[in-house]
Symmetry: C2
Subunit: 121 residues, 2 copies
Protein backbone atom coordinates (compact mmCIF):
# COMPACT_ATOMS: atom_id res chain seq x y z
CA UNK A 1 0.00 0.00 0.00
CA UNK A 2 1.42 3.37 -0.97
CA UNK A 3 2.11 5.70 1.92
CA UNK A 4 -0.73 8.16 2.51
CA UNK A 5 -1.74 10.70 5.12
CA UNK A 6 -4.09 9.35 7.77
CA UNK A 7 -6.06 12.10 9.50
CA UNK A 8 -7.08 11.23 13.05
CA UNK A 9 -10.09 13.58 13.22
CA UNK A 10 -11.35 12.33 9.86
CA UNK A 11 -11.15 8.75 11.08
CA UNK A 12 -12.82 9.63 14.41
CA UNK A 13 -15.72 11.14 12.48
CA UNK A 14 -16.46 7.78 10.87
CA UNK A 15 -17.66 5.89 13.94
CA UNK A 16 -19.48 6.60 17.18
CA UNK A 17 -19.45 3.42 19.26
CA UNK A 18 -17.61 3.40 22.57
CA UNK A 19 -15.05 0.74 23.54
CA UNK A 20 -14.82 -0.54 19.98
CA UNK A 21 -11.29 -0.02 18.58
CA UNK A 22 -10.90 0.71 14.88
CA UNK A 23 -7.61 0.01 13.09
CA UNK A 24 -6.27 2.96 11.08
CA UNK A 25 -2.75 1.82 10.22
CA UNK A 26 -0.29 -1.05 10.41
CA UNK A 27 3.46 -0.88 10.97
CA UNK A 28 5.18 -4.26 10.61
CA UNK A 29 3.05 -6.54 12.83
CA UNK A 30 1.74 -3.67 14.96
CA UNK A 31 -1.51 -1.76 14.62
CA UNK A 32 -2.58 1.80 15.37
CA UNK A 33 -6.21 1.87 16.54
CA UNK A 34 -8.60 4.66 17.45
CA UNK A 35 -11.12 4.07 20.21
CA UNK A 36 -13.76 6.30 21.78
CA UNK A 37 -14.36 5.64 25.43
CA UNK A 38 -16.75 6.86 28.11
CA UNK A 39 -17.50 5.34 31.49
CA UNK A 40 -15.61 2.53 33.21
CA UNK A 41 -14.02 -0.34 31.33
CA UNK A 42 -13.30 -3.79 32.80
CA UNK A 43 -10.12 -4.64 34.66
CA UNK A 44 -7.89 -6.64 32.34
CA UNK A 45 -4.30 -7.24 31.29
CA UNK A 46 -2.43 -8.38 28.20
CA UNK A 47 -0.14 -11.28 29.05
CA UNK A 48 2.09 -11.01 26.01
CA UNK A 49 2.55 -7.34 25.23
CA UNK A 50 2.88 -3.78 26.38
CA UNK A 51 0.17 -1.42 25.15
CA UNK A 52 0.41 2.30 24.43
CA UNK A 53 -2.41 4.80 25.06
CA UNK A 54 -2.10 8.18 23.31
CA UNK A 55 -4.86 10.68 24.13
CA UNK A 56 -6.16 12.38 20.98
CA UNK A 57 -9.19 14.24 22.43
CA UNK A 58 -10.38 14.71 25.99
CA UNK A 59 -9.00 13.03 29.07
CA UNK A 60 -9.14 9.72 30.89
CA UNK A 61 -7.87 7.98 33.97
CA UNK A 62 -5.76 4.91 33.51
CA UNK A 63 -6.38 2.96 36.68
CA UNK A 64 -3.90 0.40 37.96
CA UNK A 65 -4.36 -1.71 41.09
CA UNK A 66 -1.89 0.45 43.01
CA UNK A 67 -2.29 3.87 41.41
CA UNK A 68 -4.20 6.04 38.95
CA UNK A 69 -2.54 7.86 36.05
CA UNK A 70 -4.54 10.84 34.73
CA UNK A 71 -3.97 11.33 31.00
CA UNK A 72 -4.97 14.35 28.93
CA UNK A 73 -4.77 15.24 25.25
CA UNK A 74 -1.16 15.22 24.11
CA UNK A 75 -0.10 12.65 26.68
CA UNK A 76 0.71 8.99 26.35
CA UNK A 77 1.22 6.07 28.70
CA UNK A 78 2.79 2.65 28.24
CA UNK A 79 0.89 -0.10 30.06
CA UNK A 80 3.44 -2.82 30.77
CA UNK A 81 2.82 -6.39 29.73
CA UNK A 82 0.79 -8.37 32.25
CA UNK A 83 -0.21 -5.38 34.39
CA UNK A 84 -3.90 -5.07 35.22
CA UNK A 85 -5.43 -1.79 34.13
CA UNK A 86 -8.78 -0.14 33.54
CA UNK A 87 -9.47 3.00 31.50
CA UNK A 88 -12.12 5.31 32.95
CA UNK A 89 -13.44 8.50 31.32
CA UNK A 90 -16.13 10.76 32.77
CA UNK A 91 -16.64 12.44 29.38
CA UNK A 92 -16.09 10.97 25.97
CA UNK A 93 -12.41 10.61 25.19
CA UNK A 94 -10.63 9.54 22.00
CA UNK A 95 -7.50 7.43 22.32
CA UNK A 96 -5.00 6.03 19.84
CA UNK A 97 -3.77 2.58 20.87
CA UNK A 98 -0.53 1.06 19.59
CA UNK A 99 -0.08 -2.67 20.07
CA UNK A 100 0.65 -5.86 18.13
CA UNK A 101 -1.93 -7.12 15.66
CA UNK A 102 -4.32 -9.54 17.34
CA UNK A 103 -4.55 -7.96 20.80
CA UNK A 104 -8.11 -8.19 22.16
CA UNK A 105 -9.39 -5.12 23.98
CA UNK A 106 -10.38 -6.98 27.16
CA UNK A 107 -7.30 -9.21 27.26
CA UNK A 108 -8.15 -12.47 29.04
CA UNK A 109 -11.00 -10.89 31.03
CA UNK A 110 -13.62 -11.31 28.31
CA UNK A 111 -17.16 -10.13 28.97
CA UNK A 112 -19.62 -7.77 27.35
CA UNK A 113 -17.00 -5.15 26.47
CA UNK A 114 -15.03 -7.55 24.27
CA UNK A 115 -14.99 -6.00 20.79
CA UNK A 116 -14.41 -7.62 17.41
CA UNK A 117 -10.75 -7.45 16.50
CA UNK A 118 -9.08 -6.09 13.37
CA UNK A 119 -11.98 -3.82 12.34
CA UNK A 120 -10.68 -1.02 10.12
CA UNK A 121 -12.10 2.44 9.66
CA UNK B 1 9.08 0.89 35.28
CA UNK B 2 5.70 1.95 36.61
CA UNK B 3 3.34 3.38 34.05
CA UNK B 4 3.36 7.19 34.03
CA UNK B 5 1.97 9.99 31.89
CA UNK B 6 4.38 11.26 29.23
CA UNK B 7 3.53 14.75 28.05
CA UNK B 8 4.62 15.47 24.48
CA UNK B 9 4.87 19.25 24.86
CA UNK B 10 6.84 18.89 28.08
CA UNK B 11 9.30 16.59 26.32
CA UNK B 12 9.53 18.90 23.28
CA UNK B 13 10.49 21.75 25.61
CA UNK B 14 13.56 19.87 26.75
CA UNK B 15 15.57 19.98 23.52
CA UNK B 16 16.04 22.29 20.53
CA UNK B 17 18.23 20.47 18.02
CA UNK B 18 16.80 19.60 14.63
CA UNK B 19 17.02 16.11 13.11
CA UNK B 20 18.05 14.57 16.42
CA UNK B 21 15.42 12.08 17.64
CA UNK B 22 14.85 11.71 21.39
CA UNK B 23 13.31 8.56 22.83
CA UNK B 24 10.35 9.20 25.16
CA UNK B 25 8.90 5.70 25.62
CA UNK B 26 9.41 2.03 24.85
CA UNK B 27 6.74 -0.58 24.07
CA UNK B 28 8.13 -4.11 23.80
CA UNK B 29 11.10 -3.68 21.43
CA UNK B 30 9.68 -0.52 19.83
CA UNK B 31 10.47 3.09 20.65
CA UNK B 32 8.48 6.32 20.53
CA UNK B 33 10.75 9.23 19.60
CA UNK B 34 10.20 12.97 19.28
CA UNK B 35 12.14 14.85 16.63
CA UNK B 36 12.15 18.51 15.59
CA UNK B 37 12.80 19.05 11.92
CA UNK B 38 13.31 22.02 9.62
CA UNK B 39 14.71 22.08 6.10
CA UNK B 40 15.44 19.10 3.87
CA UNK B 41 16.62 15.77 5.19
CA UNK B 42 18.62 13.20 3.20
CA UNK B 43 16.99 10.56 1.03
CA UNK B 44 17.15 7.24 2.88
CA UNK B 45 15.28 4.04 3.60
CA UNK B 46 15.09 1.45 6.36
CA UNK B 47 15.66 -2.02 4.94
CA UNK B 48 14.19 -3.95 7.84
CA UNK B 49 11.21 -2.02 9.10
CA UNK B 50 8.25 0.22 8.46
CA UNK B 51 8.38 3.61 10.21
CA UNK B 52 5.51 5.76 11.45
CA UNK B 53 5.49 9.57 11.39
CA UNK B 54 2.89 11.29 13.58
CA UNK B 55 2.83 15.10 13.31
CA UNK B 56 2.63 16.72 16.76
CA UNK B 57 3.17 20.39 15.81
CA UNK B 58 3.37 22.10 12.44
CA UNK B 59 3.49 20.43 9.06
CA UNK B 60 5.92 18.65 6.79
CA UNK B 61 6.17 17.01 3.41
CA UNK B 62 7.09 13.37 3.28
CA UNK B 63 8.72 13.01 -0.10
CA UNK B 64 8.89 9.69 -1.91
CA UNK B 65 10.56 9.13 -5.27
CA UNK B 66 7.18 8.99 -7.01
CA UNK B 67 5.01 11.28 -4.90
CA UNK B 68 4.83 13.74 -2.04
CA UNK B 69 2.58 13.27 0.99
CA UNK B 70 1.79 16.51 2.86
CA UNK B 71 1.29 15.87 6.58
CA UNK B 72 -0.16 18.27 9.13
CA UNK B 73 -0.71 18.18 12.87
CA UNK B 74 -3.02 15.30 13.76
CA UNK B 75 -1.99 13.21 10.77
CA UNK B 76 0.22 10.17 10.52
CA UNK B 77 1.89 8.23 7.73
CA UNK B 78 3.42 4.76 7.58
CA UNK B 79 6.61 4.65 5.51
CA UNK B 80 6.88 1.08 4.23
CA UNK B 81 10.03 -0.94 4.78
CA UNK B 82 12.67 -0.36 2.13
CA UNK B 83 10.98 2.65 0.54
CA UNK B 84 13.16 5.73 0.00
CA UNK B 85 11.80 8.85 1.66
CA UNK B 86 12.84 12.33 2.70
CA UNK B 87 11.09 14.59 5.23
CA UNK B 88 11.06 18.29 4.31
CA UNK B 89 9.68 21.10 6.46
CA UNK B 90 9.67 24.78 5.54
CA UNK B 91 8.99 25.76 9.15
CA UNK B 92 9.95 23.90 12.29
CA UNK B 93 7.82 20.81 12.75
CA UNK B 94 7.63 18.33 15.63
CA UNK B 95 7.10 14.68 14.80
CA UNK B 96 6.65 11.54 16.88
CA UNK B 97 8.33 8.52 15.28
CA UNK B 98 7.37 4.93 16.11
CA UNK B 99 9.83 2.24 15.07
CA UNK B 100 11.83 -0.68 16.46
CA UNK B 101 14.66 0.05 18.88
CA UNK B 102 17.93 0.50 17.01
CA UNK B 103 16.69 2.22 13.86
CA UNK B 104 19.14 4.91 12.71
CA UNK B 105 17.57 8.14 11.45
CA UNK B 106 19.41 8.13 8.11
CA UNK B 107 19.01 4.39 7.48
CA UNK B 108 21.89 3.15 5.32
CA UNK B 109 22.48 6.59 3.77
CA UNK B 110 24.71 7.87 6.57
CA UNK B 111 26.16 11.37 6.32
CA UNK B 112 26.12 14.50 8.41
CA UNK B 113 22.51 14.13 9.50
CA UNK B 114 23.12 10.78 11.17
CA UNK B 115 22.17 11.25 14.82
CA UNK B 116 23.23 9.27 17.88
CA UNK B 117 20.71 6.53 18.58
CA UNK B 118 18.80 5.72 21.77
CA UNK B 119 19.11 9.20 23.30
CA UNK B 120 16.30 9.73 25.80
CA UNK B 121 14.70 12.97 26.88
Amino acid sequence: MAAAAINLQDKLGRFAEHWSPRVIAEMNDYQFKLVKIQGEFVWHSHADTDEVFIVVDGALELQFRDRTVPLAQGELCVVPKGVEHRPVAAQECAVMLVEPRGVVNTGAAGGAYTAPNDVWV
